[in-house]
Amino acid sequence: MTSYTSIELMATVASHQLEDGKIVGVGTGLPMIASLLAQKTHAPKLIIFFEAGSMAPQVPTLPISVGDSRCAHKAVAATGLAGIMETGQRGMIDYAFLGGAEVDMYGNINSTVIGGHDSPKVRLPGSGGANDFGSLSWRTIIIAMHNKAKLPERVSFITTPGYIDGPGAREEAGLPRGTGPFRVITNLALMGFDEETCRMKLISVHPGVTVDQVRENTGFDLIIPDDVTISPAPTDEELARLKDIDPDGIIIGK
């Protein structure tokens, strides 16, 4: 059996969530890796948007920033932040692909502060384009680490709104209808959201992980349906492509 790391597994499981031929707005870090992997495997016509303005680039090697020259390599257009987010606002971006320090049961993401806003324990970078992508794209895919602190019942600060506090809350807040969180990929499991309650629910556990382990490491009452499956392990082909994308292990090696 091929050996792989949990970061490699998160990248492959995340890449499977992206559909060929759709437009995805990609955040920095693992979302970049997973989107590039999808392009090199099952979704060669996936269209990547980076917030600094590049549309449909052919990224030659792992970028350091979503705004660096690698991200605009052989793109069809080099626009700006407004060019990207206005395209999202008029309903053209199918997926937002984001990371977050904390994600809660309604898929709200915190990437701003731990502790009070005005005297924070830890200051994080803030929204960047995450709030914009998460508000305006049709479906949001989130990557996070799985423990009780990172997956609390409620995030201490909603940087990017998920379903806020339940059904109808996004529409009531004025956000575009029919949008919201779609998938959460962690080092333990793949999760989705229950249509009626808008709460996070388990879809599959990663190989070697039990449902109990997932439950014990989640800071809220995760919905656990009867038909939980096991996430597919990375294939040799996928692992080889990941090495092509990040040969120095800048993100995969973390």
Binding site: V66, G80, M85, H117
Partner: protein, 323 residues
């Protein structure tokens, strides 16, 4: 029920103030605006200035002007942080900053968080008002359009909104709830470009980020350029003009001006330099040593480039070309 963000509006303007400023202060003439970073900073950047920086935090940033602001020990700056990375971090290291309109700040993307930036916020030295990248871009676009605000559909339902200075509003046609983003007219913006002529016409290659609107929105615009070109560069191909000359107040020739940042089509990041800087940021003492070496003990950007060395600068050009 319409809510208001409780953050402070750091810089405000009415539509008529934008018009009056442009009527009374912006030169229409084709005049030679070539100058030096020292003169431009002395003339336009004051204690308490609201400053916006072109590019994307560590891509296409005007480091000659940033180092000069630090060397001049300018204080109490307010900064527009639409993906602020190394640009803002060096200004914080130089103790130049009091407040930030944060979309993204205090971090270096895939390289992780900045200890220096975090320390400044966590100790209460820097005040943060929360925004998002699109919010700041649309605030700048509103000012560029000569409007007091723009409506949008982001930001709603978040704590980012609650700690911003935006307001909810009702669409007068449909009743739809929207967010109103107040126009942002920075006192000064500093923008690094690929080509400029002596009048201030500018051409940017790669993503513009928001710099076309930023040049229109700002009271004063200082441009540094990789290359100064004759005005026929623009006259013969007017579609090259990203920023027209009448937006610009000062022009400075600055090859390698984004170092250690990336300059699309020119040179890639100096990762070794950035790694050393981030390591120095671990404590105030090492950061002071860094600034002494790279900022305070050199007279200008040419002397800084001598320290970096031709070998390294050439290597960064090869890296950009993927050779």
């Amino acid at each position: 029920m319409f809510e208001e963000g409780k953050g402070e509006l750091l810089s405000s303007c009415t539509a008529d103030e934008i018009r009056d400023w442009n009527r009374n202060n912006k030169d229409r003439g084709l005049v030679d605006k070539m100058t030096t970073v020292r003169s431009a900073v002395e003339k336009y950047v004051k204690d308490g200035t609201y400053l916006a920086i072109g590019g994307f935090g560590h891509i296409r940033i005007s480091m000659p002007l940033i180092y000069e602001i630090v060397r001049h020990r300018i204080k109490h700056l307010q900064i527009s942080g639409h993906t602020a990375v190394h640009d803002l971090d060096v200004l914080i290291a130089g103790d130049c900053v009091d407040a930030v309109d944060v979309a993204y700040a205090f971090a270096y993307e895939t390289r992780g968080l900045s200890r220096n930036g975090r320390r400044a916020v966590e100790s209460g030295k820097i005040k943060c008002v929360e925004w998002t990248n699109a919010s700041l871009s649309w605030r700048i676009k509103a000012a560029a359009m000569g409007l007091p605000f723009l409506p949008a559909r982001n930001l709603l339902g978040s704590d980012t909104f609650r700690y911003s200075a935006a307001k909810e509003m009702e669409c007068p046609f449909t009743g739809q709830k929207l967010v109103a983003l107040p126009a942002l007219m920075p006192d000064v913006s500093i923008i690094h470009v690929h080509y400029a002529d002596k009048y201030g016409n500018c051409s940017i290659r790669g993503t513009t980020v928001k710099d076309d609107d930023l040049a229109k929105a700002s009271k004063r615009v200082i441009v540094t350029a990789e290359r100064i070109v004759p005005d026929t560069f623009f006259r013969n191909d007017p579609e090259r003009t990203t920023i027209p000359y009448f937006c610009v107040d000062a022009v400075i020739e600055a090859p390698h001006g984004s170092h250690p940042g990336n300059m699309p089509h020119e040179y890639y990041f100096d990762e070794e330099h950035i790694r050393d800087y981030l390591k120095a940021g671990a404590d105030d003492g090492s950061l002071k040593d860094y600034l002494d070496k790279w900022v305070y003990s050199v007279n200008d950007f040419d002397e800084y480039l001598d320290l970096v060395g031709t070998k390294k600068l050439n290597e960064l050009r090869r890296l950009e070309e993927l050779r």
